[in-house]
């Protein structure tokens, strides 16, 4: 993993993403705590000539949803960093990586489903302000989930081969 290699660039990208996600989650958590106590009376969201009243429960729900969203990505990046650590140690087919990949797939699937459900809910509650999500929007993330689960199976086979070879004398 020399300087300038793809692996080192990926490591930097993962470290930066991890730090940024924690920063975002931290800021949003502070905002959530602030909005619990700060009065929101007479505050509205202006969209052209229309005005939507800002309700505390809606604001807290929105911020909470974003915290969950970033939290899920923190979990994914954490797993990726742990996988990367096994790669740098020369042991990428460690059995734990199979569990990590499956966890990433499950989190991605949950986030994809969650975002779709929340968007559908919000678009119904705020008619005309938020577009309804289409099933077509799900295609790319679902394809990503499929790829992750296929990779998990590849790693499971790799881990099996590794176990087989490590006690071969």
């Amino acid at each position: 993993m020399g300087p300038g290699s793809v692996a080192s660039l990926l490591k930097i990208a993962l470290d930066v993403a991890h730090a940024l996600l924690w920063l975002m989650a931290g800021v949003l958590t502070l905002a959530f705590i602030t909005f619990v106590f700060v009065p929101l009376d007479n505050l509205t969201v202006v969209d052209g000539d229309r005005q939507l009243p800002l309700v505390r429960s809606v604001v807290l729900f929105g911020i909470g949803a974003f915290i969950a969203y970033f939290g899920a990505f923190i979990l994914i990046v954490r797993n990726l960093r742990q996988m990367f650590r096994t790669l740098t140690q020369g042991d990428p087919f460690h059995p734990r990586n199979v569990t990590r990949l499956r966890q990433i797939g499950l989190v991605l699937a949950t986030v994809t489903g969650g975002v779709f459900i929340v968007q559908s809910f919000v678009s119904r509650s705020a008619l005309g302000y938020v577009d309804r999500p289409s099933v077509g929007d799900l295609m790319t993330p679902l394809f990503a989930v499929l790829i992750v689960f296929v990779l998990a199976e590849v790693f499971r086979e790799g881990a099996r081969l590794r176990r087989e070879s490590e006690l071969t004398i």
């Binding site: 059995p95 199979v98 499971r156 881990a159 099996r160 176990r163 087989e164 490590e166 006690l167 071969t168 004398i169």
Partner: protein
């Protein structure tokens, strides 16, 4: 384990130490201990060839099968 390596018996018969055999075969003493205690998952033909050569025996003298469950499972 259903497969047992009779390394101890052969070493005793040849009056050879595990360290000496390890040196002659080119396998670490730690790996030979794993083999002796039934911890190995598989044995390479090259290792078996070297063991038979140094112990002056046939593979059948080294490996015996006994009824019983396997220690290892291939499941991850």
């Amino acid at each position: 384990m259903a497969i047992r390596i009779q390394l101890d018996r052969l070493l005793h018969a040849r009056r050879m130490s595990l360290a000496e055999l390890a040196d002659r075969v080119g396998v670490t003493e730690a790996n030979l201990t794993i083999l002796k205690t039934g911890g190995a998952r598989a044995v390479r033909f090259s290792t078996l060839d070297a063991l038979c050569r140094e112990l002056d025996c046939q593979p059948g003298d080294l490996v015996v099968w006994e009824p019983g469950p396997l220690t290892f499972s291939d499941e991850i």
